[in-house]
């Protein structure tokens, strides 16, 4: 794989340079064209019979728009009208938190369906249909992502969503409706019955890791993604909902917080130096099998360091490390089972005066 990767690396670096040039041009062009592109007004639906039943030309730009201006002077029709045709959607909305009418912050206490979808006067007059009357459909094929998100952000702009601008998912153009089905029946209005199911639709590597033998109890439903991550934005890499990765780990593994008299430096810097948080083939969540895990940083004198067989016959017979001969008088217990941590037991840090090498 090294060859193709090197090729891709070179190609990507060249591409970055080219795109930098393109960027400058793009900035120039965007300045010259800004103001020329805007969302077209909703098409007037004067003839019900001829009104398009499929998507008309919706907004074609991804620009942020003023939601109120786009529907100025269009009358509201009220939810009773909406449910004439959209009974399923209406019922699910009624059953959702958005339907709590005594909460002044909900759509139910404002303009109900039209709070999010916009006033339906033109839509009704046009005889209905997808996109008729300029209704907001929250569909990425008909609405720019920024516009979809702005509908939601009108109300959901605080709490866990406060750091959404500039977050990874915002930068990668995810719409709120990628993960949330506003009319759905799942907790937190998620698109799927559980968080892992939603998140792993894109994060395939994580899904595969969760299927590995050693994993956090996510498949057992004792943890969910948002226990560690805030997908709406944080101040930490990988959308970790703590100031550092380690601080997040310490919330459940508080015993490893220390600080210790004898620190193990890479442990203090990041648990991920040794552990694969979502899942690993190697217990307990280790990135590689011991002793190789430790040998990534240590090649100490006086320790037998490789799994060995004394003869070719032994090697051919399965290399039982338990039945191996001594190596320069050293037994093999430094290598089998927990390997290095058979002796260096307090590997996360020791508080014993004799814990310099984490034996005690």
């Amino acid at each position: 794989m090294t060859g193709p990767i090197e090729f891709l690396t070179r190609a990507a670096r060249a591409l970055v340079l080219l795109l930098a040039v393109a960027l400058c041009s793009g900035i120039f062009l965007s300045r010259t064209t800004s103001g020329q592109e805007s969302s077209p007004p909703p098409p007037p639906a004067t003839d019900t019979a001829e009104a398009p039943r499929t998507s008309p030309a919706g907004p074609t730009t991804e620009a942020t728009v003023d939601l109120a201006d786009a529907h100025a002077n269009v009358p509201f029709v009220g939810p009773q009208v909406c449910q004439q045709c959209h009974v399923d959607r209406y019922e699910s909305y009624e059953n959702s938190p958005h339907g709590l009418i005594d909460d002044p912050r909900t759509p139910a206490s404002r303009n109900a369906c039209e709070t999010c979808h916009g006033p339906g006067g033109n839509h009704v007059m046009g005889g209905g249909g997808v996109g008729v009357g300029g209704m907001r459909t929250m569909d990425r094929e008909r609405m720019p992502v920024a516009e979809i998100n702005q509908v939601c952000l009108t109300c959901h702009s605080r709490g866990i969503v406060a750091l959404w601008p500039g977050s990874m998912h915002e930068s990668r153009d995810l719409a709120c409706t990628n993960c949330h089905a506003i009319h759905g029946g799942n907790e937190k209005l998620l698109q799927a019955p559980s968080q892992p199911q939603v998140c792993t639709e894109c994060h395939r590597q994580i899904r595969a890791q969760l299927m590995r033998p050693s994993h956090h109890p996510i498949r057992e439903q004792k943890l969910v993604c948002s226990d560690c991550h805030n997908p709406h934005g944080t101040v930490t890499e990988r959308l970790i909902s703590a100031n550092t990765i380690n601080e997040k780990c310490y919330e459940c593994h508080a015993e490893k917080r220390g600080p210790f008299l004898w620190e193990h430096p890479p442990v203090r810097e990041s648990c991920l130096n040794c552990h694969e948080a979502h899942g690993s083939a190697h217990e307990p969540l280790l990135r590689v099998k011991r002793p190789l895990l430790c040998q990534r940083c240590h090649s100490p004198g006086g320790h037998p360091s490789v799994l060995w067989a004394q003869t070719e016959e032994e090697a051919a017979e399965g290399q039982s490390v338990f039945g191996t001969r001594r190596f320069f008088g050293q037994p093999a217990q430094m290598l089998f089972m927990r390997s290095c941590t058979n002796c260096h037991v307090n590997i996360h840090g020791s508080n014993a005066p004799s814990g310099k090498l984490w034996h005690r």
């Binding site: 794989m1 990767i5 690396t9 670096r13 970055v16 795109l19 793009g26 800004s34 509201f76 009208v81 009974v87 399923d88 959607r89 139910a108 406060a162 500039g166 930068s171 990668r172 153009d173 990628n178 759905g184 029946g185 799942n186 968080q195 395939r204 590597q205 899904r207 109890p217 439903q221 004792k222 101040v235 100031n243 550092t244 508080a254 917080r257 220390g258 600080p259 008299l261 620190e263 203090r268 083939a281 217990e283 099998k289 190789l292 940083c297 090649s299 100490p300 004198g301 490789v306 799994l307 039945g323 191996t324 050293q330 217990q333 089972m337 927990r338 002796c343 508080n351 005066p353 005690r360």
Partner: protein, 865 residues
């Protein structure tokens, strides 16, 4: 089906009186228990409501004369009456009894296209005034076989022959929202959550959860006092083993001792978590929150202890932890000015109720102080060992965040400052419990190491301080351009008091002093990370976006091999939906980490350690110069409204150009393919396949002081016959298949999930061949082909018959099979020996995960009202 017709049909179904009459006796009993609760709840929650408020929703604001009138009859009972509340019903698919589908939360992606209309996930609509109440309860009778074959089967769950209950209660009126959920009630992994909301004023949640963690069933231990901090072995065992004539005899005696005195022990612990969270909204702009989590963890876990280089013993570590996490916060949001400020104070504590573990040495009845006890033989050293367990600690953190939106150019500015400290002041244990290590004999310490008075300090006096500054500006100056600038500065200071010691006792066996007196010391390691991130997003035609990013990360470290490192990363990503039938996401990054200097001996020279025990050529991977590439592609196709095909490719490489020893390369690759197909209105199928490969290559050297391969004397070059190279290769395949079919609409539903995952690991060794007097790798550098090779199958069909609106009966079957092959299982015995039968340095308990094959049958009765 037309929506209105569907609604009418539902209404008819709701009016059917046949439901209760069809209930089996058990369901009637359950309902009879629940009905009084219903009545009580309705009475309690029927607060006097204000007069119907003329909300915009109620009036519809349909003042325009050209809006057609609505025919209340045609619109159904809700139309024309304001506001009509619909009786809430629970969503029947909500997994209130996960025992029947332990992986239900991790099913493969649903078949339903993400952006297409979805049928509402509930059924049965009532329209009646008053509070809305719904309850669903299930009772499951489960029979299991094979669950105790291996603790892996129940690593985080409870699978026993048992009865369990699931509960989901919902109550709502115009003012309140109450929800009570219970899962696996009656089992070891039960949990429950109660949530009460008073919209616009209060949200309160209380939760309880038990998380079992099973490590080993039926392990064998010589120790008494399992679960406590004092692990003893019968004296006669210690006396007998100490009297071994030679290593061959030792192995025989140890095996006999295990047979005579070994006791079966289950090694496991359980987390019991209780949580309380309250959010108050005294004004629309202000929110105050309080959160408290309390957890206790009690039990044991398998780990190790040692008494020198030839004597490892596996011991049951005691676990008795209490931890708490309390948070108080506020948030103020000035909506008109787009200004948000919030703050939070966090206080976390950890208490270990067993601060150390004293464990007997199987091979010594009385303490000894042989000069080279560490390496002399397995019977030298102390009769007991003392390991310090995790110390108590406290952590405080204060965080303040401000966000200002609506600045010119669609600009948002946000800043976070945070400061915290972590303290630990546990009492130190003595250097050793070996009472023979007293001044006198040659090689012994100059003081009695077992005397607590000779500790270097009474308490640890350890403290860390952290500071965080995060600043982000995002702007959309034009409709096609996004700009993001971000700066993050995180610093971890270490204020731990340094102790200076002459030496220490290694493994309670041997005193090891420094090259000069009082030179050995703990090093207060610390680090600081500064990250600067700039990203430009360009919106292209066809709803696509291109993002270019640059990130610079500077890392400063104290007391480590590399003091300063800089990593530059260039990123490019492409996201979009250029056509209705495709969704594309791609990203690529290239990074280059450079370091100023790698001082391999810094850690030792600071302590005046002359004989560096580490290979000088090795570069630790987390600090070494590194080149990194990452490519990620995700493409989702919608060739038909009922079909979704999605493929993903991830390729990543880490190479270490300046490293001759240590990690040389670390690569991973992933390819996945998903298929979802709605094969008609009643059948959904999904399938998935993922293939992963991980490769790590590294190089080391077999050496010891004065040996031919000693890098400091005899072999100062990079090439040496005692060098070795290892290549770790893991291949992981994951396959999943699922089907959901409504065999009889609204009556009989069948679901099945099948998954298979296989991990195949191997380690290949290479070593140059040299004459045995200079080649410490004078052995066959064999390949180990069984490295955590695991095959895991899961088959989970479920057949559900619904009796009307309120009752369903499900029969579920779960088959799980776990096969593992590993070189640590091949030839394993509790007392390993060499081919000649000599004791090989360890006594184990038998705690590895082994194969299991589970069959689980369950009959689940689900009632909803």
């Amino acid at each position: 089906m037309a929506p209105l017709a569907a609604s009418t049909r539902r209404a008819r179904a709701c009016d059917s009186p046949c439901v209760v009459g069809a209930l089996p006796t058990a369901a009637l009993l359950l309902i009879s228990l629940l009905l009084p609760a219903t009545a009580t709840a309705q009475g309690t929650w029927d607060d006097p409501l204000p007069e119907e408020e003329a909300t915009p929703a109620a009036t519809g604001d349909a003042t325009a004369s050209d809006i057609p009138d609505v025919d209340p009859q045609a619109a159904g009972p809700a139309a024309g009456s304001a506001p009509v509340r619909i009786q809430f019903q629970l969503y029947p698919r909500r997994p209130i009894d996960l025992r029947l589908r332990p992986n239900s939360g991790f099913r493969l992606p649903e078949l339903v296209p993400a952006f297409s209309p979805r049928p509402p996930d509930y059924e049965g609509i009532y329209r009646q005034p008053g509070p809305q109440f719904a309850i669903a309860a299930s009772i499951a009778f489960t029979g299991v076989s094979g669950a105790r074959d291996s603790a892996k089967a129940q690593e985080f769950r409870d699978l026993d022959d048992d009865v369990s209950v699931g509960l989901d209660l919902f109550l709502r009126d115009r003012r309140n929202y109450l929800r009570l959920t219970g899962r696996h009630l009656g089992l070891d992994d039960q949990d429950a959550k109660l949530e009460w909301r008073r919209p616009g004023l209060l949200t309160a949640r209380a939760s309880f959860s038990q998380i079992p963690h099973n490590y080993a069933f039926g392990a064998t231990s010589l120790y008494r006092g399992v679960g406590t901090g004092v692990l003893t072995i019968p004296d006669e065992v210690q006396n007998n083993l100490q009297g071994s004539a030679n290593e061959n005899d030792a192995a025989i005696r140890a095996r006999q001792a295990i047979e005579d005195f070994g006791q079966p022990v289950d090694l496991r612990h359980r987390r019991d978590r209780t949580g309380l969270e309250v959010q108050l909204v005294p004004t629309e702009a202000l929110m105050i929150s309080f959160k408290l989590d309390d957890e206790s963890r009690v039990g044991t876990r398998p780990w190790s202890g040692s008494f020198g280089l030839r004597n490892v013993v596996e011991i049951p570590w005691p676990v008795d932890y209490d931890s708490r996490d309390a948070r108080v916060g506020f948030e103020y949001f000035g909506e008109t000015k787009g200004f948000l400020v919030r703050g939070e104070y966090t206080y976390q504590t950890f208490d270990n109720n067993i601060s150390s573990v004293l464990f007997d040495n199987p091979w010594r009845a009385i303490d000894s102080a042989v000069g080279n006890a560490l390496n002399a033989n397995f019977r030298s050293g102390s009769s007991t060992g003392l390991i310090d367990l995790y110390p108590d600690n406290e952590h405080e953190q204060v965080t303040l965040t401000g966000v200002k939106r609506n600045l010119p150019g669609n600009t948002t500015v946000m800043a976070t400052v945070s400061r915290g400290s972590t303290e630990q002041d546990d009492e130190l244990i003595p250097f050793s419990v070996n009472t023979a290590l007293i001044p006198g004999a040659a090689g012994n310490p100059p003081f009695d190491t077992s005397d607590p008075a000779n500790r270097p300090a009474t308490n640890a006096d350890a403290e860390l301080e952290n500071r965080l500054l995060h600043f982000r500006v995002t702007s959309k100056p034009t409709k096609r351009l996004d700009i993001k600038f971000q700066y993050r500065d995180y610093e971890l200071d270490n204020n731990t008091a340094q102790i200076f010691i002459d030496g220490f006792v290694a493994e309670d066996a041997q005193y090891r002093d420094g090259d000069t007196p009082t030179a050995l010391t703990n090093l207060p390691i610390a680090h600081r990370d500064r990250e600067t991130d700039l990203a430009l997003g360009i919106r292209l035609p066809k709803r696509t976006k291109l993002t270019l990013g640059y990130e610079r990360r500077e890392t400063d470290r104290d007391f480590r091999e590399v003091e300063n490192a800089v990593e530059d990363t260039f990123k490019i990503s492409f996201d979009g939906k250029p056509a209705p039938w495709v969704d594309l996401r791609a990203s690529f990054l290239v990074s280059d980490r450079t370091i100023d200097e790698y001082i391999f001996d810094q850690f030792y020279t600071i302590q005046d350690i002359q004989n560096i025990p580490q290979l000088p050529f090795l570069r630790m991977f987390d600090q070494a110069a590194r080149d990194r590439d990452r490519l990620q592609l995700l493409a989702t196709f919608f060739p038909h409204e009922s079909v979704i095909i999605s493929g993903s490719v991830i390729v990543g490489t880490d190479s270490y150009p300046d490293s001759s020893f240590g990690v040389l390369g670390d690569d991973h690759r992933l390819a996945s393919l998903d298929l979802s197909w709605s094969a008609g209105e009643r059948v959904a199928i999904y399938a998935s396949y993922t293939h992963e490969e991980n490769d790590v290559s590294l190089q080391g050297r077999e050496w010891f002081r004065t040996a031919p391969s000693d890098p400091f004397t005899n072999a100062p070059g990079l090439d040496d016959p005692s060098n070795w190279r290892a290549a770790s290769h893991d291949e992981i395949d994951t396959i999943g298949f699922g089907l959901e079919a409504h065999l009889i609409p609204e009556r009989l539903r069948f679901e099945v999930t099948w998954t298979f995952s296989e991990t195949d690991g191997r380690i290949d060794y290479e070593s140059p061949v040299g004459p045995n007097f200079i080649d410490l790798n004078d052995f066959v550098p064999a390949s180990f082909e069984e490295v955590d090779d695991v095959r895991f199958y899961s088959l989970n069909p479920e057949l559900t018959y619904t009796f009307g609106e309120r009752l369903s009966l499900a029969f579920a079957y779960l088959r799980e099979r776990y096969d593992i092959d590993d070189f640590n299982l091949e030839g394993f015995t509790l007392v390993p020996t060499t081919p000649d039968g000599d004791f090989n340095g360890a006594i184990f308990m038998g705690t590895q995960f082994t194969d299991f094959d589970i069959d689980l049958w369950a009959l689940k009765l689900k009632v909803r009202y």
